[in-house]
Amino acid sequence: MSTNDTPMTPAVVPENYLNCSSGFRSWFFTLDHKRIGVMYLASILAMFLIGGIMALMIRTELLTQGQTIMSSDDYNKVFTLHGAVMIFLFIIPGIPAALGNFVLPLMLGAKDVALPRLNLASYHLYVVGALVCVLSIVLGGVDTGWTFYAPYSTTTNTHVSILTLGAFILGFSSVFTGLNFIVTIHRMRPAGMGWFDMPLMLWALYATAIIQVLATPVLGITLLLLIVERVMGIGIFDPALGGDPVLYQHFFWFYSHPAVYIMILPAMGIISEIISVFSRKHIFGYRAIAYSSIAIAAFSFLVWGHHMFTSGQSELMNMIFSALTFSVSIPSAVKMFNWITTMYKGSIRLDTPMIYALCFMFLFGIGGLTGLFLGSLATDVHLHDTYFVVAHFHYVMFGGTVIAFLAGLHYWWPKMFGRMYDEKLGRISAIIITVGFNITFIAQFIMGSRGMPRRYYDYVDEFSLLHFISSMGSYVMAIGFFMVAGYLVKSLVSGPRAHANPWGSAALEWQTQSPPVHFNFDDDPEVCNPYDYSRVQYDAASGGYVRVPSEVKPA
């Protein structure tokens, strides 16, 4: 292996996927999964910036009662676009298409994903979809909320058709990524790597891909029907024409509930990797975590009605969905307990990725448990459409997925770009983001339980203080994010060169150099248990971890 032969960090950057060719075409039309992953990463971060700015605009507007910086119509548009941009353009492709694309073939020791052209098509569709969505913003935005509920969405004058067309195209992009991952995991595993020898990240991506393939087409047809409804007045969702608007909600949530697992499952995969590596301990309950990923994917299709408890859905279905909703908590808790048990008696190192992973467990724990309140019928009728739901959603999506995304980004950053970031700033900003996040959303939990409805432009006196605190928290978070952006960009320019294996992981992606060569591996990597750290040892001379040969044949 090249890592064993080159203990010294070379002065000249060896040829790798970043510098093997250059020019716009060599990137935009590349079939290399690593470059596609990096392009995805840049794109979703740009979208995260747009969505984040909108979030700050919302919080600034709500800083004081009455009008602060924008009119109520603009406010409706901004919260709609914040939701749509963050969900369709950032968080759904976030982990699978950006980080997953980069690491999945590396973790399999493969040269590429099984269908590289489809992978590129997925990215191009993403770009087209993003442009269409941005077009709807430029033309004046949409004010329906990101759920596009009929009948308002079929009658409003804003640009719903364009935004939904964008989301429709993005759906194809998502399906292609998921499809590709399933095929790759099925057909490209190296000799010696069985299903239960895969890193758990791959199980998580596999479960995610199942949902992407099975659920996204239903979103496609839903949005298509909505567009047809608006353009031609077909009447299926329009009560004025005898249609059924509750059916729209069934259609929408049949996709969009599983979609939240598209967002959280890969996050759980990242955490499974990081907890084990930074505890230097074999992951506890490998099979339980693997199966629970698949179980979450399966259960996710059976609970969508819990978004519709107050929509006019029948009482029978309300009860069935409420009962089924609790079943999802079981596999989620299985993962949680396994992570905690993995850390037990481990030798824990608090590097930036691990800090994020710990924050994830804290925030996701709160998000998950408040989900149980909302899943039980009687409480939900009270809390439905309040800030409690907003806070719960953000605890899972931000506290869960975005924090895990940041964990993964910091974890694989040295592999992606071959540079180390400033570790101290990394830890500090992780803590700032977490603290700011809690200030923002704990205030919203309190407001919600006291009856502050979501999506309102104005509020009564008694919520003034809590809204003020919440807005302040969001500014703290923003500071944290600008710090992250700052030191990550700096590391690209002047960060120290990264070792092939800076964290001491036993998974295959760390067996190649950082950044990897164009075809990923110079020699076929040695397939081994990804959580067996006995053969990975710190090498002071090179400043990273190397594999030591052992007499015992690895399991």
């Binding site: 079939l31 073939p105 493969a110 040269k111 590429d112 994903v113 099984a114 269908l115 590289p116 052209r117 489809l118 098509a121 009948p151 009658t155 409003t156 004058n157 194809f172 399906v175 499809l179 590709n180 399933i182 095929v183 790759t184 099925h186 057909r187 490209m188 393939v213 099975l214 659920a215 996204t216 087409p217 239903v218 496609g220 047809i221 839903t222 298509l224 029907l225 047809v228 608006r230 031609m232 007045g233 077909i234 009447g235 299926i236 329009d238 009560p239 004025a240 024409l241 005898g242 249609g243 059924d244 059916l247 069934h250 259609f251 075809f519």
Partner: protein, 288 residues
């Protein structure tokens, strides 16, 4: 989609043995099996896409059987049946094309692809005749439903006035305005239906059909009909595109026992298009 899927095999990498083998695969078999699995997954997404429409169909048919029994009379069973046969024939020729490609029978392959293509055009032609007929008689979706010509006789007893009333003309101008006038009309319709509820509920649907009484919201049937057959038609069009591309490549002699994946995968796609029609035909044309 099947296009980008199978065209990935055109890439000629450094593998000396077969120029169609891509660099990241070890063998043609691995490449073929990967593509096939990907194609099947794609087909499942197609089935779920149509699944949404079948769901809309099932919900409305279950709750408003009278609309379906009444409205399906306006569809031409014979043309629908003829189109079913056309698609079945095209499925056979497609399956034959796959077999011919696998066995390297180039002339047969070209013939079969051409026949499949002809069937696809024939299908669309018949579909066009059907659509035109409905267009002429105003048998359309939603607010465009306005029965004309000889069909109008059956709709004397309309519960919603078809002639442009005050509210009707407002509806044409401003989509925002539709919600109020339409809703305002509903009570009349409801009142009429309450009457039906009084005597023999189960027979209500039949009464409507046999007495030529038009039930409320017939346009929902046509809405569903046009969306389902329209989306299916778009898939036929996409199939025509891909099969044409295959035809050109087959004339060039690209396919043989070593390389037939594009024909095979397009075949799978085409069979799914046939499969969906197999369900659409009885559900839309053969009610009752």
């Amino acid at each position: 989609m099947s296009d980008s899927q199978s065209s990935s095999h055109v890439d000629s990498a450094a593998h000396a043995a077969n120029p169609n083998l891509q660099h990241h695969f070890d063998s043609m078999e691995q490449q073929y099996e990967s593509g096939k699995l990907g194609m099947w997954l794609f087909l499942v997404t197609e089935i779920l896409l149509f699944g949404g429409l079948f769901c809309a169909y099932a919900v409305y048919r279950h709750n408003h059987p009278e609309i379906f029994t009444y409205a399906h009379q306006f569809l031409d069973k014979s043309l629908g049946g003829f189109n079913t046969i056309v698609l079945i024939v095209s499925s056979l020729t497609m399956a034959m094309a796959v077999r011919a490609a696998q066995l390297g029978q180039r002339r047969l392959l070209t013939t079969c692809l051409a026949l499949t293509l002809a069937c696809a055009f024939l299908f669309l032609g018949v579909k066009f005749v059907e659509y035109e007929h409905k267009w002429k008689h105003g048998l359309l979706w939603g607010k465009n439903y306005e029965v004309q010509g000889e069909m109008a006789g059956a709709t004397e007893a309309l519960m919603i006035p078809a002639a442009p009333s005050q509210s009707g003309s407002a509806a044409d101008v401003d989509p925002n305005a539709t919600i109020l006038p339409r809703a305002a009309r509903a009570p009349e319709g409801l009142a009429a239906e309450v009457g039906d509820h009084g005597d023999g509920v189960a027979d209500a649907a039949d009464d409507h059909a046999t007495h030529g009484l038009e039930p409320k919201n017939v346009h929902l049937f046509f809405g569903i009909y046009f969306v389902m057959t329209g989306l299916h038609g778009i898939h036929v069009l996409a199939g025509i595109g891909v099969i044409t591309w295959l035809l050109i490549r087959s004339l060039r002699g690209d396919f043989g026992p070593d390389y037939f994946a594009p024909v095979d995968f397009t075949g799978l796609y085409w069979h799914v298009v046939d499969l969906i029609w197999i369900f659409l035909f009885p559900l839309l044309y053969l009610i009752d």
